[in-house]
Amino acid sequence: MKISIDPITRLEGHGKIDILLDEKGNVKEAYMQIPELRGFEQFCKGRKAEDMPLITERICGVCPEAHHFASTKALDDAFNVEPTSAAKKIRELLYNAYFFYDHCLHLYYLGGVDLIVGDAPKEERNILGVIKKVGLEIGKEVIKHRRYAMEIVKTIGGREIHPICGVPGGVTKQISEEEREEIIKKAESCVEFGKFSMDVFNKIFESKEFKKLNEMDKLETYYMGIVDEKNHVNFYDGKVRVVDPDGKEFAKVDAKDVLNIISEHVEEWSYVKFPYLKDVGWKGLVDGKDSGIYRVGSLGRLNAADGMSTPIAMEEYKKFKENGVVHSTFGFYQARMIEMMNAAERMLELAKDKEITSDKIRNEIGEPGEGIGVIEAARGTLIHHYKLNEKGLIEEANMIVATTNNNAGINMSVRNAAKKVIKGGKVDDIILNKVESAFRCYDPCLACASHSLPGEMPLIVSIYNKNGLHKKLVRNV
């Protein structure tokens, strides 16, 4: 008996790309659709507010740490409490460990392989193809350092992958000196691995092949990301900054005001909404200064910032941005590599700070009210918004997740890639992989965008010509 049980089969729906061909068999339009498992916000209603960080991290198996802390920060705001200085550092340390292992997964196992083995046959389009090029040892190092970062999450968060430490006003668990020393060792190793990875990927980014990929899709959009007081990228906290396609600051707001600068457009063919900048307006799926579409994620963050907070990442940032804003969608990869380096360096910085062993890990909370928590998930800005009643129970909960913020960008990139590679109705596996590679750049989390289950979902590609459905491919075998 053959039964498929991986998370895909338990999903209600599947990712879907519809490609419409004209009479000559060239691409007229392409749309990406993500299904939705409804009812999560309803499920949260009436729950104890302090349970939200544990509930929302179950939305998705891909970025639970991001939901955990976006939720915790929304509760800080709702209970009108500032976490202690030590608690902020502890949260940020855990958060950088999450960023490190998540970016590592994408760069080496997933999207990154488009860069190294993009034209290779299907069976080699994974890390095995990468290993063939850079050696078997690298695979072991990837596993080892992802493990180190996950262990740091576990040490601080109390549980691997799904932390339980975030509470309004601070964290639940103090870090011991022994734990701190252990974290330092692992973080030091991650920094070294970051440097090694930088060398591996920089060689790729300088190659002719990558330069070709860089030309495949350029979108002159706005960009959004959280920045610190120096306008450097910060994954955990700061102000939300938006720059225009020329790199000029368009907005810089406190987290609580972020919902004032965006609106959500609805298209009848998509379950997922299309957020855009309210003051610029929705002009359809087009880029340019007059269109309110913005992009988030690694590229969004590096474009929205003026630099990185750590030395090695800063050096790489300067090279990356030497000609100003980077509009190439494949720039997400370069930005991701710089962020992985930054996450490792920041982990080490924070681990070396003795304050993280302080026992002042929680401040007293105030009266319940309304709260907004904004954080950078690995794949972009994540917003949690709660309204609590006087008993501290959830009355309303709303979330705008990273992949939703990138919905318009992803759709445009898929359309552009399809137009470039599908000609005369000819479609094969390598061509479709190129279309998919356009949205893999964004490191999308379909489960997250659809408030669905952990893991991934199958992608169905339907190609229509003038006579109707021309080809339907389930990209799962």
């Binding site: 008996m1 053959k2 039964i3 498929s4 049980i5 991986d6 998370p7 895909i8 089969t9 338990r10 209600e12 990712g15 498992l37 009812g39 999560f40 309803q42 499920f43 509930i55 179950r58 198996g61 891909v62 639970p64 997964l105 994408h106 196992y109 997933l110 392989v113 299907k122 389009r125 994974n126 890390i127 095995l128 290993i131 078997l136 695979g139 072991k140 596993i143 992802r146 691997e160 992958i161 799904h162 794949r379 992989n433 998919e436 893999r440 490191d443 999308p444 989390c445 379909l446 489960a447 289950l453 952990p454 893991g455 991934e456 979902m457 199958p458 992608l459 990209r475 799962n476 075998v477």
Partner: protein, 148 residues
């Protein structure tokens, strides 16, 4: 490293949490066994079992015949392409087996209805737990079900 038992599922999706419940019982009744509970898939799950000799994964699966328990061989899982943030479990195991030592893997699937946001298990699925616990013990004790 020896054996690991992994309970998979999302306890906030009703019966989908059955794997977690089974793992909690194994954890109590067989303290010498490594037990993990997770809500992950793909590469992270594959990394979780890497290095062990044998791994038993317990998970709720969608399909007709609610409450039925099926044993699944990893070889029968479909390998899918990478489309989003992750690769599927079968592909991840295949990839990691080229890099590191991977265990013999046995999967116990408990058929559940369509998952939806809901607390706790339905009586029908809860009733399957003793049977699944026994099955896990049987596999661990006499090696039944493992190919290696």
């Amino acid at each position: 490293m020896s054996d690991v038992v992994i309970g998979l599922g999302n306890p906030l999706l009703g019966d989908d949490g059955v794997g977690i419940e089974v793992a909690s019982i194994i954890e109590k009744e067989m303290p010498h066994i490594n037990v993990k509970k997770a809500c992950v898939g793909g590469m992270t799950l594959a990394e979780m079992v890497a290095g062990y000799k044998r791994a038993i994964i317990i998970d709720g699966i969608e399909g007709e015949g609610e409450g039925e328990v099926v044993e699944i061989d990893i070889k029968n899982l479909k390998a899918r392409s990478m489309v989003g943030h992750d690769v599927d479990f079968a592909t991840a195991v295949k990839i990691l087996s080229r890099i590191t030592k991977m265990p013999d893997i046995k999967i116990l699937g408990i058929k559940i209805g369509k998952p939806c946001w809901k607390d706790g298990l339905s009586p029908k699925i809860r009733a399957t737990i003793p049977k699944v616990v026994e099955k896990v013990k049987e596999i661990l004790e006499d090696g039944h079900g493992f190919t290696g």
